[in-house]
């Protein structure tokens, strides 16, 4: 293999630099993502975790150019295989999405056109393969549906989204995303609607995809078990800020940011017995208009000191491949 190709192979697939997103509203700008930098290496799985409303969906939608400039102010840089996404025209973007980048959305019903049958949806999505016959497209659709565990796919092609269960819709979305054999797959909570046996099979399928096609995956999930299971790297978001990031093992076994620690401690999978009181982080996330100066987590942090209220902590390395944005984290 030539050195140039070698280099290309190791260049990050997706590179997000200082991305900020603020939604324009009546009361001014509501900041949803602030100064986030993130890279997705080729063939790796990057997990994103964080409080609901912390901006995970916004981050990945902005990174794909899905948020229009009229609804939000977007600053920063996003590069996909070296190409600048944020300055692309709608046509260029459309050419990339679906083939090179595929996305699985959080709410499967809104992602499937309710007035089209599954068969139509799944053949329409292959519109780029001009020369391929309709029967071939249908065959591919059926095969992919079987892959994601939809029983009896042939006869279900004529059915409409509302005739499927929530989990099946989610799997249909997954199947549609995988049809194009994308180089980057962005999955927003793809397995929440599935039972654990199915979840295990989907995870298996994603791993296989990653192995066979060297696909990079960005995986948003609230299920820490699944994150631990599939991810190579993990990024932790809190109120739009990246507070910690690193290799999966570091995050789970040596978390440095108080928020990460608190989040991990809330997982009910760790509870020994039946409880009436589930662990939760006391306090509330700061709203978009009352973001404090200094550390974003200070109101809920039990280590908070004076410096935390004045200076916002930069993301700094705590060990190899592991960085945290906390004044109290031990640096290197």
């Amino acid at each position: 293999m030539s050195s140039k190709m070698e280099m290309e192979k190791n260049a990050p697939v997706l590179e997000i630099n200082n991305l900020s997103v603020g939604f324009n509203g009546a009361r001014g700008q509501a900041i949803a993502v602030k100064d986030v930098s993130l890279t997705v290496p080729p063939g790796k799985v990057v997990g994103i975790v964080g409080e609901s409303g912390s901006g995970k969906t916004t981050l990945i939608s902005a990174a794909l150019g899905l948020i229009s400039r009229q609804t939000a102010e977007i600053t920063g840089k996003v590069k996909f295989e070296g190409r600048d996404i944020l300055n692309m025209s709608e046509r260029e973007l459309r050419a990339i999405r679906g083939t090179d980048i595929a996305m699985i959305f959080q709410d499967p019903m809104t992602a499937l056109n309710p007035s089209m049958s599954i068969g139509t949806l799944m053949t329409d999505i292959q519109y780029r393969d001009r020369g391929v016959s309709m029967t071939e497209k249908r065959r591919k659709a059926v095969e992919m549906l079987r892959h994601v565990g939809i029983p009896d796919p042939e006869s279900r092609l004529t059915q409409y989204p509302h005739e499927f269960s929530g989990g099946m819709r989610q799997r249909i979305c997954i199947a549609m995303a995988l049809l194009g054999q994308p180089r980057l797959l962005i999955a927003d909570e793809p397995t929440t609607a599935l039972d654990v046996t199915m979840e295990a099979q989907i995870i298996h399928l994603l791993r296989k995809l990653q192995r066979d096609f060297h696909t990079s995956i960005v995986f948003v999930s609230h299920n820490l078990g699944i994150i631990a299971e599939i991810c190579d790297y993990v990024a932790v978001l809190y109120a739009g800020c990246l507070v910690e990031q690193g290799e999966v093992d570091h995050i789970f076994h040596n978390p440095q940011h108080p928020y990460t620690k608190a989040l991990l401690a809330c997982d009910p999978a760790l509870l020994p017995e039946q409880v009436t009181d589930f662990p939760a982080i006391p306090g509330e996330v700061p709203g978009p208009f009352d973001r404090p100066t200094g550390c974003i987590f200070q109101a809920r942090c039990n280590l908070a000191a004076d410096i935390c209220r004045q200076v916002s902590p930069p993301l700094r390395p705590v060990e190899a491949n592991h960085a945290a944005a906390c004044h109290m984290a031990k640096g290197i």
Partner: protein, 324 residues
């Protein structure tokens, strides 16, 4: 509070004419088949099962939102749904449902405020107090009052979920059917929501049917647990028992397939493989025998029935785990 007996829901999969042409004598599927369960006031029944096993359909059928083919639903001592009888209005008047898709269960052109006000109005809340009540509900579910004027698409998944909860609480229900209410919530907010539901339940004594895929939540939150597979309940019992000593091979597989939040303890094998059979081609005998690691010849001939397959055990299997 709620008693369901032998409930059955059938869906037509193709038109009568098309079925005739294709030579299919039975163009129906049983999404829910002979399900019986009961929930006492102030308790929670968890419903777990593979996706497509009919959990949501069961929930909808109880509310009278989907037509039932057979069986009865008794609410507060009165039989309100039975063959030829549909008084489900009275069930809906005293219950609330939380839906699976958080954003799409909120009407897209209505603001959060109107969405909750609508629920209050239907319960004849005095107009002058609606505003204050909305604020109270929003803060109960942990949402800032500034969200009042947002449209559903301007909410994150978790925020939309909590609006759904606020709306359900506005209905002051005796029965809550919660369809995956914590899907899409982070573990901390999920904890808060579960604590909230606990509190509401303690205060109002409402019964709760809790559909979920999160086994640890099911185990820790519910009093009783029912496991569904292909439209049937295959095991039912106290949550702790089912979770710790699952007897049905499917339930057993479920609980042992749980991911653990530790990258050093990754699962390398898949416990339960194979396709879930199609409802249109329900297997002969035990529904699970196509995937069951313990299947015997008998399993593909006879249907194991709950409470009868092994006398005294609430499990629909001839060879349950502990008995083997």
């Amino acid at each position: 509070m709620l008693q369901v007996k032998d409930l059955r829901v059938r869906f037509r999969t193709m038109g009568g004419l098309k079925a005739l042409v294709k030579g299919k004598s039975d163009p129906f599927i049983d999404a829910v088949l002979n399900v019986s369960l009961s929930i006492a006031p102030g308790t929670t029944l968890g419903l777990v099962g593979e996706s497509g096993s009919g959990k949501s359909t069961l929930g909808r059928a109880i509310m009278g939102l989907t037509k039932t083919t057979a069986g009865t639903v008794t609410f507060d001592g009165q039989t309100l749904i039975a063959p030829g009888l549909d008084r489900s209005q009275e069930i809906r008047a005293h219950s609330a449902m939380m839906f699976q898709d958080p954003i799409s269960s909120l009407s897209p052109r209505l603001r959060v405020r109107s969405l909750i006000a609508e629920a209050l109005k239907i319960r004849n809340w005095p107009a002058s107090k609606i505003d204050a009540e909305i604020d109270r509900l929003l803060s109960t579910v942990g949402l800032p009052a500034s969200l009042r004027s947002r449209y559903p698409h301007q909410l994150s998944g978790g925020q939309a979920r909590r609006v759904g909860v606020a709306r359900a609480l506005a209905l002051q229900p005796k029965l809550i059917i919660a369809d995956e209410p914590t899907a899409g919530l982070d573990v901390s907010v999920q904890g808060e929501l579960l604590n909230l539901l606990h509190r509401v339940q303690k205060d109002t004594g409402c019964a709760l049917l809790f559909i979920t895929h999160n086994l640890s939540v099911a185990q820790h939150f519910c009093d009783e647990l029912a496991i569904m597979y292909l439209g049937r309940i295959v095991e039912i019992g106290s949550a702790d028992d089912v979770a710790r000593h699952a007897q049905h091979p499917y339930a057993h597989g479920l609980f042992s397939a749980q991911p653990y939040p530790d990258p050093r303890r990754r699962r390398t094998d898949i416990q339960l493989t194979g396709e879930v059979p199609s409802l249109a081609q329900r297997p002969e005998g035990c529904d699970f025998h196509t995937r069951c690691p313990k299947a015997q010849p008998r399993c593909s001939r006879e249907v194991p029935l709950l409470g009868q397959a092994v006398p005294g055990a609430d499990v629909a299997c001839f060879y349950p785990e502990t008995a083997a």
